[in-house]
Amino acid sequence: MTIAIDAPRAPARRFAATPGQALLAALIALFLAFFLVIPVLTVIYVAFTEKGSGTFTLINFYDFARTDLFIASFWNSMYVAVMTVVLASLFALPLAYLTTRFEFRGAGLVQMLGFIPLIMPPFAGAVAMQLLFGRNGTINLLLDDWLGFKIPFMEGLNGVVFAQAVHYFPFILINLSAALRNIDRSMEEAAQNLGCHGLRLFRRIVFPLAMPGYIAGASLVFVKVFDDLATPLLLNVKDMLAPQAYLRITSIGLADPMGYVIAVVLIIVSVAAMGASAWVMKGRDYATVQRGGGGLTKRPMNLSQAIGAYAVVLLILFLVLAPHIGLFLLSIATVWSFSPLPDAFTFAHYTRVFAESSVFIKNTLLYATLAGTIDVVLGTAIAYLVLRTKLPGRQWLDWTASAALAIPGVVLGIGYLRTFFDVKMPDGTSFASFWFVIVLALAIRRLPYALRACYAALQQVSSSLEEAAENLGATKYRTVRRIVLPLMMGGMLAGFVTSFATAAVELSATLMLVQSTSDAPLAYGLYVFMQSPAGRGPGAALGIIAVVLVAVCSLISNWIIERNQHLRNTRT
């Protein structure tokens, strides 16, 4: 047996790097250099120059440290990111544990619904959330009518924590569920045989074994929230780092280096957080030889447990799906203003949207699928190189890719224009106006999601399985293809779905890169609608279409992969 949770220094044996692995690492490094590092450097080098003269200086960082607003913003961002991880864990833990470890009717549905909050279309989601939870949203209007008080769900830093936790908790849910499914059930059974049950079983056996998945999800939530600017800005919270950077970078005609200084700080914190999460996991072995398929079936619940479990799950689902419920109401509403529910209902918005948006839908599916695929391939390769080889500098691949989380979309967009606009395609048009550049930008921005998922999946695969395969004469390539990849499939799927779904609704980098309406994705169409009062309904309708579309595609890919795995299992 290979489980050795608290045994320090029992590292998985690493194989020496082959020329093929070195080549792979070099190719990935080149890709990251061209499509992440260089474009971003062309923009943020300003942080290291003196305004006006352009000479190299570090004075801007000194100014950062001496400005009260920035320091306060730094701690506010820290507070929001940490509290969001806590709240998101409270949402995700019961959903993940109950649906994977117990006989729970509708587990698949809960898993799917729990994933939907990640598909939050820009603008529309925030508008819908204000309509439900805002100061004069449905809930507060009703509370005020009946009980005479209001709850400030959406105000200040805690409002940001609430909105962010609702939006990003699926990162924890998805990664934790994948990890829980991968645990060898005989571990739980052994513990149960020894008299361990209930919370103690979860705290001492199940949760520690699922740690890689939880850490992957939690670190993503932390970094994502730390770097996110859209939610704070839509809630009008400006004293956080990412909004400060954004406000300074995008003001017209101002050449202020401080925006870029903040971007550098964001990158450093993000990479440090990723490094810290790797360090926490260091020297621990989470691999089990048997996969979750073995052992007994899921545990049954007695009646009172079942009632409690369903109540908890339904409450959480209502909270996290509220924005989408609001969005749906908005999409069929005529006028919704200062009232608990819209004045009247109509389907006119859908007819208007369907008539003019089919090209957006096609583009979105194409771009998000390509970006998700690129991400899973890169994520798996990077995870393999980091965890299974001794290539010098392999950690840098991981850190560089993760730093993409901290790059504001608008910085990446400007960087792409700056780097690629003068690169001409064979037909004389600019490379930057070629639609594939949008795919690359999406892939880079969503790579960290897929990477974390693949990384966690590989951590749970015992290297002794690979050693066994190689001892039996399999080549390295064949081992990866026949042993590692099938065992990682669950995590890779989680990675693909997260990258795909979030790429489908991303806007900030796209907005810089879309050069013609025929190349535009759904998020752009939504943006155009949401700029006018009459466009709120159609915008929401387009948002709902995006959510349904992405959810259905994720379901299908889930189904295909599970069927393949099932076929393989029955064959062997």
């Binding site: 003196e50 305004k51 006006g52 003269s53 100014d63 950062f64 001496r66 400005t67 009260d68 607003l69 508008v127 204000q130 805002g134 100061r135 004069n136 800005l233 839509l234 009008n236 400006k238 004293d239 909004p243 406000l247 995008t250 003001s251 017209i252 005609g253 101002l254 050449a255 005529t334 006028v335 919704w336 203003s337 200062f338 009232s339 608008v410 400007i414 224009l417 700056r418 606009f421 003068d422 600019s430 930057a432 106006s433 907005l511 810089m512 879309v514 050069q515 013609s516 309406t517 752009y524 943006y527 155009v528 609608f529 949401m530 700029q531 006018s532 009062p533 009459a534 466009g535 709120r536």
Partner: protein, 440 residues
């Protein structure tokens, strides 16, 4: 139908002049911050007037549009830049990203209200006017039993505390012009006093111009300081909102310009001519568009209650706007507002609330000592870290542009201003609390 034929006939007439020179064909690419409600009618009308052309609309917010033109200047793909904020056009002009083009259209006056319609250098032309005012949600106002405001000063009254929203002027060129109008109309110190007095009542300062009408429409805030067409478009969409122009308001033109090195020069020029033509101007009266035409005669076709800045002297006529003064201190004024109001909103609101409370207490039991303390509190809130002369001085401007003469870096100035505002607001809050105690 008759209106349509008239429109068509006018369109053909308007099209004739440029058609003789060089008939526009092909794709005209328009980069704009205007919403679909505005761009769609113009696209339709232009394509009808110039068969063989198609209009490709690229929708961006103004900032992103400026950045796009900047980054793609080596092989520009855009023919027309079309947006509200005159300062964005100034920036583009300064970076030599606009083509000099004097429209052939005649019959457009030189000024609307006090503001010149066209760029004196001929790089961009005003095609419609808009005025700033106060928009409110009737249901919200009714539920909270609030009065209808008429003037900017009304918004400073205690009853509006925490009910008003505005877009940050560093993010919205049109908000900037509104504040600059107040500063020019009332003078630097008094103007800032007015601005801070009603800013203390703000619920929030949004970073998107559209965030304000959005919040008013949905009833999250009661009142918004917005540009008129946001309110008109909301009314057209059926939202229960009202709008008023205060007497001191600016009427500012929204502009159109040909981008430097346009891929379709003939098409670009035809587009500018079209929206300035009588036919193009009538599209502005469209229900979803609702902007003020720059051709005085177009108003004869407008609905009865349509505001007419050429007839109504209260619309923007009271203030003379000096764009030289404005552009010399744009960055300083924007940064001052951000540092003294946007980023200090909590402490400014705390001080304002204490002042409102003290005033209410003194109204019941007046004491001279309390009055004096209250005045001190008000003066502390109004206190500015820089004078008008300093704001326009080369030293301060250089801090923002990176020039050589700077006495301090921008980040240092920001820190000084923010720190002084914070301590002034805290002191004001304490004084006001003391005044309230005396009255008890």
């Amino acid at each position: 139908m008759r209106a349509f034929i008239q429109l068509l006939a006018l369109a053909v007439l308007a099209a004739l002049a440029p058609a003789q020179a060089q008939a526009p064909t092909g794709k005209v690419t328009v980069l704009t911050s205007f919403s679909k409600d505005v761009t769609d009618p113009f696209k339709k009308a232009f394509e009808a007037a110039h068969p063989g052309t198609t209009v490709e609309i690229q929708n961006r917010n103004t900032n992103a549009g400026v950045k796009l033109l900047e980054e793609t200047r080596s092989a520009n793909q855009v023919d027309i830049f079309w947006a509200s904020a005159p300062d964005a056009f100034e920036v583009l002009k300064g970076k030599k990203l606009l083509q000099l083009y004097k429209p052939k259209a005649t019959g457009i006056p030189a000024k609307i209200g006090a503001y010149p319609i066209n760029d004196p250098d001929g790089y961009y032309s005003g095609f419609a006017a808009s005025g700033y005012g106060i928009m409110w949600n009737e249901r919200y106002v009714k539920a909270n039993k609030l009065p209808d405001p008429k003037e900017w000063q009304d918004l400073a009254k205690p009853v509006y505390f925490d009910h008003v929203s505005i877009a940050a002027q560093s993010r919205s060129g049109t908000t900037h012009l509104t504040l600059e109008t107040i500063l020019q109309g009332e003078g630097w110190d008094k103007g800032w006093r007015t601005i801070k007095e009603w800013s203390g009542n703000l619920r929030d300062v949004t970073e998107r111009s559209f965030g304000v009408p959005d919040a008013v429409n949905s009833g999250q805030v009661g009142y918004g300081i917005v540009i008129d067409f946001f309110a008109f478009a909301a009314q057209a969409a059926g939202f229960p909102v009202k709008f008023v122009y205060p007497t001191v308001t600016t009427i500012v033109p929204a502009n159109v310009a040909v981008v430097a090195n346009p891929p379709n020069k003939a098409g670009a020029e035809a587009y500018v001519e079209f929206i300035l033509s009588a036919a193009g101007q009538e599209v502005l009266l469209d229900k979803g568009v609702r902007r003020l035409p720059v051709r005085p005669e177009t108003y004869t076709k407008a609905p009865a209650d349509y505001p007419n800045p050429f007839k109504d002297p209260s619309l923007g006529g009271k203030v003379t706007f000096d764009s030289g003064v404005s552009s010399a201190r744009t960055a300083v004024v924007d940064t001052l507002y951000d540092q003294l109001v946007s980023f200090q909103l909590d402490s400014l609101k705390a001080a304002t609330k204490a002042i409102h409370a003290a005033e209410a207490a003194l109204a019941k039991k007046d004491t001279p000592a309390g009055r004096a303390l209250l005045q001190e509190a008000r003066d502390l809130v109004a206190k500015m870290p820089v004078t008008a002369e300093q704001a326009a001085s080369p030293e301060v401007r250089a801090a923002f542009t990176g020039g050589k003469q700077k006495s301090a870096r921008q980040a240092e100035l920001e820190q000084q201003w923010a720190a002084s505002a914070k301590s002034n607001y805290a002191a004001a809050e304490a004084k006001a609390a003391e005044a309230a105690k005396l009255a008890r």
